[in-house]
């Protein structure tokens, strides 16, 4: 046990000493990896945020039911009754054309427009909140309402959210592809760095093997080096990500103020950060392992 621990502290100490000696190169490596990974990280955070935003809107879909302009009071009342009786409708709200017209005239921004109109162009309308939440069922309800007598247009307010959702799904897939590609790039970057280090320590490796070092003894410092690169690179990626989101939020705050909204991008969860660092460590460990094993196989006892 003590022996085992010795071998590990010794390898780790050796690697840290070497990295301190080549501090600049080590830090550059961290930054290269961090920058590489912060790209998909940032995209992921943005997509996650939009996803959450879309999700919060989707909980309350609405169907706007605009009646025909010539529909009279009784038609409107009949539709109200039918809506009352419909099992898929949770609630509905009637806005008469007169009420709507008043609202428009009172609103400072639209008053000018309404003033130029000679008469009320607005129809009566029902705003329907469905009981059901499945998008396809809501669409079926919309289609049904569209067929009702006196209905000019049944409009589903969530259709743009659906489109957004589809886009977000696409975005997520895109990020996955990006992560896979950059992951491979990372393995290559690390593998190459470790390969160069192996070259500069070729004599030591050779002598060590000749006098009885096991493969794991030779591998150990390089695997530690890979792990440390992964840790450093992952942490840099994480810090960059937080910095980028903060920067975005500064501009979003201005924009959100215009819309009287307190909206801002949420910082990624701690688990995301741990995931990024762990993933980077894993990838660079793998890169080092492949690189060392390739060199070792050339030195083996035949």
């Amino acid at each position: 046990m003590k022996h085992w621990l010795n071998q590990h502290t010794q390898a780790l100490g050796l690697v840290l000493k070497r990295m301190r000696k080549n501090l600049l190169a080590t830090l550059l490596m961290f930054i290269v990896m961090g920058v590489t990974l912060s790209l998909p990280g940032t995209l992921y955070v943005i997509v996650e945020n939009l996803n959450r935003l879309a999700g919060s809107m989707q909980t309350d879909p609405q169907i706007s039911l605009f009646l025909k302009l010539d529909a009279d009071r009784s038609t409107a009342a009949a539709i109200g009754k039918k809506l009352d009786a419909h099992p898929s409708v949770r609630a509905h709200r009637f806005i008469s054309k007169d009420t709507a017209w008043e609202q428009i005239q009172q609103d400072a921004e639209t008053a000018a427009v309404s003033a130029s109109l000679e008469r009320n162009p607005l129809p009566d309308a029902y705003f329907v909140t469905p009981e059901i939440l499945q998008p396809d069922e809501i669409e079926a309800l919309q289609a049904e309402l569209q067929q009702w007598e006196g209905v000019e247009l049944a409009q589903l307010d969530t259709s743009w959210i659906k489109r957004l959702n589809a886009l977000l799904q696409l975005g997520k897939k895109g990020i996955l592809v990006l992560v896979a590609l950059l992951g491979i790039a990372l393995i290559v970057i690390i593998g190459n760095t470790i390969r160069l280090q192996i070259l500069t320590q070729r004599e030591e490796i050779e002598v060590s093997k000749l006098i009885g070092a096991t493969d794991s003894f030779i591998r150990r410092p390089f695997l530690y080096a890979g792990t440390i690169y992964g840790l450093g690179g992952g942490l840099v990626a994480w810090l960059l990500l937080i910095g980028i989101i903060r920067l975005f939020n500064l501009s979003i705050a201005d924009l959100a103020e215009l819309y009287a909204s307190g909206y801002r991008l949420d910082l990624p969860a701690l688990e995301t950060g741990i995931g990024i660092v762990a993933g980077t460590v894993l990838l660079s460990w793998l890169g080092s392992y492949i690189a060392v094993n390739r060199s070792l196989s050339q030195l083996n006892y035949k």
Binding site: H3, Q10, E203, E206, S208, L210, I211, A213, K302
Partner: protein, 228 residues
Amino acid sequence: MIKFDQVNKRYPGSHQALQNISFEIEAGELVYVTGHSGAGKSTLLKLIAALERPTSGTVLINNQNISHLRSALVPYLRRKFGLVFQDHKLLYDRNCFDNVALPLHINGITGSEAGKRVRAALDKVGLLDKEKAMPITLSGGEQQRLAIARAVVSRPAILIADEPTGNLDATYAAEIMQLFHAFQQVGVTVIIATHDVREIKPHAKVLKLDHGHLTTLRGDQRTQETAA
């Protein structure tokens, strides 16, 4: 302790380096491997230390047939030997102390225990005051002694040296040989490849190679070797 039985060694793409070699070495012996350049001395030592596998025949080390040894076990066998390479194979990027400490690190020995042993080994070869020096600053004889310190620091039962006096002038050479004899006196099996027959001690065993063949194998061959 070491037994060769009809051992052949052919390097890929090369002619037969060793042919039909059979001999035995007992524990505690002093053995010289002699012969012209290219006779196969280095190859013989490499077969003993499990640095090369025989093409055919059996090499027994402590009754263990190493031709069939699993690769994963080879490192542990190699640790039984102290090796002084023909070209030193010192590491010039670290000081004397760290050079000698390498075999101990491979064995998982670190810290003060390692420090004690490294200094004991450096002391034995007379380099205790050079532990902080870089190998490149040492003379040829000192570098050879450093290589010997590295070979003996793990206290191996078998010490193998490939032409350890090859590039040294006579006084240095005698000094180095004296060191090996001292190790043999305290019970270490010492195997030395050399082409300089003047170095050979009367009580030593001599394996003489000629173009890969073992031509003489005798216990005391000083007079004949000198004549040859």
